[in-house]
C-alpha cells in the first residue's frame, strides 16, 4: 500500500511539472530543454531557505517560486529571441550551465555530496510527516495548480499563446506581442516548476544535482510528446504513463541490472513511433514544428 501511495505522490509532483511545461511547449510551441533546471533551482532555493533561515514551508515555498520565476524571466529575455533549432540549443545551454552551477558551487549547494536532512514541512502547526500527509499535501497543491492552469489555458492569455504558436506573425498583427506573452509563459512555467522542486525536496529529504540533469529535461519533454500537449488531458496521460512505465516493467520481472536500459530503449522507440504516426502525441493538439 505504501508503494502505491509513493507512486501517487510522485505522479502528483510530476503532474504539476508537466502542466507548467505545457504552458511553454504546448501553448507557446517552444521546445524548451531547461525545465529540469527550473525544477532543480526550485528544490535548491526552497531547501537553502528552509535550512539556513529556518523559514516555514508557507514562506519558503512562495519565495522559492519568486526566485525561480525571476531566474526564468531573466533567462527568457535573451532565450526567447530564438526559435527553432537555436532555441532548443540555447535552452539546452541554460540546462547545462545551471547544472554546472549546482554541481560545482560546492560552498552553496554542497555540489555532488547533495544536501541531506531537509526538514519536513509544517503548515499552521501541523507537521507533514507520514506518507498519507504527503499525499494530502501534494494532492491539494495539485488541485490548486489544476484549477490555476485550467483557468489559464482557457483565459485570453492562453488563447493568445495558442494563436502565437499557430502563426506568430498573424497573431502579432492582431495585437498580441509575442515576446511579452512568451516571456510570461516562460516565467510562470519556471515559477510553478519550483513548487514541484520544493515538494520533491521535502518529500525525499535529500537532493543532489543528478536529479536535475539534461536527461530529466528530456524526460519531461517526452511526457508532453507522448501524452500530447496544448490541452489539459495530454500532459495528464503522459505523466501517468511515463511515471508508471518503469513500475510496470518491474512487474514483468526484468533483472535490476538491465531494467533501466530496457526502459530507456522503450522510451526511444515510443518517441520514434509516435513521431511517425501521431506527432501530436496520444491526446495532444499541438504538433512540433
Amino acid at each position: 500500500m505504501n508503494y502505491v501511495i509513493h507512486l501517487l505522490i510522485m505522479i502528483n509532483i510530476y503532474l504539476v511539472l508537466a502542466y507548467s511545461l505545457n504552458l511553454v511547449l504546448g501553448f507557446g510551441g517552444l521546445l524548451s530543454l531547461c525545465h529540469a533546471a527550473f525544477y532543480g533551482i526550485g528544490a535548491y532555493a526552497y531547501t537553502l531557505l528552509a535550512m539556513h533561515f529556518d523559514l516555514p514551508f508557507m514562506v519558503a515555498l512562495p519565495l522559492a517560486m519568486v526566485i525561480t520565476g525571476l531566474l526564468a524571466f531573466f533567462l527568457g529575455i535573451p532565450g526567447l529571441k530564438f526559435r527553432g533549432d537555436p532555441f532548443v540549443l540555447v535552452t539546452l545551454g541554460f540546462q547545462v550551465i545551471i547544472f554546472s552551477v549546482l554541481y560545482n558551487w560546492v560552498s552553496l549547494t554542497k555540489g555532488p555530496y547533495g544536501i541531506p536532512g531537509i526538514p519536513r514541512p509544517e503548515i499552521f502547526g501541523f507537521k507533514i510527516d507520514s506518507l498519507y500527509d504527503f499525499l494530502g499535501l501534494t494532492g491539494s497543491i495539485l488541485i490548486l495548480s489544476v484549477l490555476f492552469f485550467l483557468a489559464l489555458y482557457r483565459s485570453p492569455f492562453g488563447l493568445a499563446l495558442k494563436a502565437l504558436r499557430e502563426d506568430e506573425r498573424a497573431a502579432e498583427s492582431l495585437g498580441k506581442p509575442s515576446q511579452l506573452y512568451l516571456l510570461w509563459a516562460f516565467t510562470l512555467g519556471g515559477a510553478v516548476a519550483a513548487v514541484s522542486g520544493a515538494l520533491y525536496a521535502t518529500y525525499v529529504t535529500y537532493i543532489d544535482p543528478t536529479s536535475f540533469t539534461l536527461n530529466e529535461s528530456i524526460f519531461l519533454v517526452a511526457i508532453l510528446l507522448v501524452g500530447g500537449s496544448g490541452n489539459f488531458w495530454g500532459p495528464t496521460l503522459g505523466t501517468i504513463f511515463l511515471v508508471l512505465l518503469p513500475e510496470a516493467l518491474r512487474f514483468l520481472g526484468l533483472p535490476d541490472t538491465i531494467a533501466p536500459n530496457v526502459r530507456q530503449m522503450i522510451y526511444g522507440t515510443i518517441l520514434i513511433i509516435l513521431m511517425y504516426w501521431r506527432p501530436q502525441g496520444i491526446l495532444g493538439e499541438f504538433k512540433i514544428r
Binding site: V90, S100, M275
Partner: protein, 290 residues
C-alpha cells in the same frame, strides 16, 4: 607560462577532433537541415566497433569501427529520416525521432557492454618532448589526422562538386533534382561521409581515453555548437570555431578549472547567437542572397 603553452597545444589537438565532429554534424545539418542527434549514436558505435575489433588487431578494430558507424548512419537515414521526409514531417518532429534513435542506441550499447568505461589501448603511450612541451603519440596522431582531413575540406569547399552539391541541396533541394542530381544518392554520400568523419574522431578519442555508452551526446553537441556559432553557411567557420572552442576550454582550465568547461562552451554559444546570430564567421549578406 609553461603550463599555458602546453594547454594551448592540447587545445590544438582537441580542436582537430572537435573540427572533425563539427564537419560530420555540419554536412548533414547544412544539406538536410536535420538536427542530427543520432550522430551521437554513430559516434559511440564507432568506438565500440573498434573495441570489439581491436582484439584481433588494430587494423581490424579501425575497419570495424568505421564499418559499424557507416552502417548505423545509413540505417538511420534509410529507416528513419527518409520515411519521415517522405511523409512530410516537420524538422522538429524529425529532431525528436533522431533523439529517440540516440536514446535507443545508447542504451542498447549499455545493455550489451555495460555502463563502465572500456579501455581500448592498455599500454602506456610513448610520449615525446619538444622543448617545454610533452605530447603523447596518440595526441600527435589525433592532431595530424584531424588537421589533414579538416584541411582537405577547408580548401575543398569551393572546389569539389560534392561540397558544392551539399551546399546547393541546403538551398534548393528540388532545383538540384531538376538539374539531374540524384538526391537520394547524394544523401547517401552525405551520411556515409558524416559517419566516417565522426567515426574517426570517436576512435581517436577512444584509443586515448577509452569509451563509455554515454559519450556520444556531449561530443555531438560540441560539434553542433561549433556549426551554429561558426555560422551554418560557412564551412570554414565551423572549423575555426571548433579550434576556438578547444582553445577557450584550455584557457578556462588554466584560469579556473576543467569543471566549468561545459558551462563556458554554452555561455559562448548563447552570447554569440545573441550578438551575431548569423554566426561568427559569416559575413553579412543581403536578404535576397540567403
Amino acid at each position: 607560462m609553461k603550463l599555458l603553452v602546453q594547454l594551448l597545444v592540447n587545445g590544438l589537438v582537441n580542436g582537430a577532433i572537435y573540427a572533425l565532429v563539427a564537419l560530420a554534424f555540419g554536412l548533414v545539418y547544412r544539406s538536410t537541415r536535420i538536427f542530427h542527434i543520432a550522430l551521437g549514436a554513430v559516434y559511440t558505435t564507432a568506438a565500440y566497433g573498434m573495441y570489439v575489433g581491436v582484439k584481433s588487431g588494430l587494423g581490424v578494430g579501425l575497419a570495424l569501427g568505421i564499418l559499424t558507424a557507416v552502417l548505423l548512419s545509413l540505417a538511420v537515414e534509410w529507416g528513419i529520416y527518409r520515411p519521415f521526409v517522405r511523409k512530410g514531417s516537420s524538422l522538429g518532429v524529425i529532431l525528436i525521432a533522431s533523439l529517440g534513435v540516440y536514446i535507443f542506441v545508447e542504451n542498447l550499447i549499455a545493455l550489451l557492454f555495460g555502463n563502465e568505461v572500456k579501455i581500448i589501448s592498455s599500454g602506456i603511450e610513448p610520449s615525446y618532448t619538444f622543448g617545454p612541451l610533452i605530447l603523447t603519440r596518440i595526441q600527435i596522431i589525433q592532431f595530424l589526422v584531424g588537421f589533414a582531413i579538416t584541411g582537405v575540406f577547408f580548401w575543398g569547399i569551393k572546389k569539389t562538386r560534392f561540397l558544392k552539391a551539399v551546399w546547393a541541396m541546403g538551398e534548393e533541394p528540388l532545383l538540384l533534382e531538376v538539374l539531374g542530381w540524384p538526391i537520394t544518392r547524394l544523401r547517401n554520400a552525405i551520411f556515409v561521409w558524416s559517419a566516417v568523419l565522426v567515426g574517426l574522431a570517436s576512435m581517436l578519442v577512444a584509443y586515448d581515453v577509452g569509451t563509455d555508452p554515454h559519450t556520444g551526446l556531449s561530443a555531438i553537441l560540441l560539434g553542433a555548437v561549433a556549426v551554429l556559432v561558426g555560422g551554418v553557411d560557412s564551412l570554414r567557420g565551423w572549423i575555426w570555431t571548433a579550434f576556438l572552442i578547444a582553445e577557450i576550454q584550455s584557457l578556462a582550465i588554466w584560469k579556473f578549472s576543467a569543471k566549468w568547461n561545459d558551462a563556458i562552451t554554452f555561455l559562448l554559444l548563447i552570447l554569440v547567437l545573441l550578438l551575431k546570430p548569423q554566426g561568427l564567421f559569416t559575413s553579412e549578406s543581403r536578404v535576397e542572397e540567403r
